[in-house]
Symmetry: C2
Subunit: 228 residues, 2 copies
């Protein structure tokens, strides 16, 4: 029994390590996508567009590890919640990597036009979204509810920046119709970055549910529990 328990913990640790790797890859793809947008770097754009295979492989591998872990060790209570959180986090990270592709697609269109403006708020949104993702994964590995709560709080900053970017670009579009098409792509990129923050929020919520007892989850303020 003692041996089986230790074995489960070891397997769970491997699972967490793989999720961290996947988070690192997804984060890097987002960073490259935004960099390709800012630098109008076609080589980097194509690299992001073509480079999602490692993340997809990890996505399949992690799901596979979860199925084996559940079938072999049949965990319950907190252990089971940790494994279920891994399933959800795995999905969120795969979506984040998908959003890097969406950003690179926008970058490719954007580079066909003269730049609308120097990018300031989009790199800022990127930094915040990445930090949220990193903190959320860190909170998962450490079971750190306070850090998960911090991630939830950060989401407001992304939302404010998204609104600011929209207003600023709308002004450009109204003044000069030639900026409409490229400005639309910047607006879309800001939405993609907002969604990356949403995925970090999902991970943070999973962490809170994983660590807390079920009743705590049900008594949480609705806004923190369900983004719906």
């Amino acid at each position: 029994m003692e041996r089986l328990v230790r074995h489960f913990q070891e397997e769970l640790d491997v699972l967490k390590t793989r999720l961290l790797e996947m988070g690192g890859l997804a984060e890097e793809r987002v960073r490259h996508a935004v960099q390709s947008l800012a630098d109008r770097d076609f080589g980097l754009i194509e690299a992001v567009l073509a480079g999602d295979e490692p993340v997809n492989q990890l996505h399949i591998e992690i799901d596979d590890r979860v199925l084996k872990l559940l079938a072999l060790h049949q965990p319950v209570a907190a252990d089971l919640r940790a494994v279920m959180a891994a399933v959800k986090i795995n999905t969120d990270l795969e979506r984040v990597a998908d959003l890097a592709v969406n950003i690179a697609e926008a970058a490719k269109r954007y580079a066909q036009h003269p730049p609308v403006k120097k990018l300031i708020d989009i790199p800022r949104m990127t930094d915040i979204a990445q930090a949220m993702l990193r903190d959320a994964l860190d909170a998962y590995v450490k079971g750190d509810v306070a850090l998960a709560q911090h991630v939830l709080d950060e989401d407001d900053k992304l939302d404010a920046l998204k609104t600011q970017i929209f207003r600023e670009l709308l002004t450009f579009m109204l003044q000069d119709p030639t900026t409409i098409e490229p400005a639309l792509d910047l607006i879309l990129v800001s939405r993609h970055l907002e969604r990356i923050g949403d995925h970090a929020t999902n991970v943070a919520e999973d962490v809170i549910f994983m660590v807390s007892a079920r009743d705590v989850r049900h008594h949480m303020p609705e806004a923190d529990l369900e983004r719906g």
Copy 2:
């Protein structure tokens, strides 16, 4: 043993029924949101914005049922894959309901301006996305891989309509700057509908993985397996 097995199947059937209910609710919310946009119906807009509690409750309940099912019955192989699919489908349906809120928010802004045009393609996208979602859930309940594959094929139609809507609205915006703001909201709505199709695609992929053996999944064409 016989009794336990039957009990698991009964519990799984309840789980499937609840997922269908949730799918029905999510679909209805999307339909109402698009209707509120087309009819400029502020009452319906507010109803959609305020009405996500039933979906959130079901979301929590289904996750809870899954944890109990796994802890009590410790399913393996196909049964385990069916339960894991339920977890993922639950998340996808909650996101679909969230997107109804996003559409209603766009409807609220859109109704502040004169209508840009009569809506034709957005209702068409809505019909396709809803049918995809319904078929995907149907495929899950029946374990119907052919139907799941049909859902994956339908996604191209949504993509084509989204591109068509974008081009048409861009023309409006270039000709008349007063349409820029409301046209942007229609573009966003078309993106939200595309994402609903993406969630239906996720469900269909889960069904294919659930029914197929693992090796089949690994040999599937990448495009069908990973949307990345």
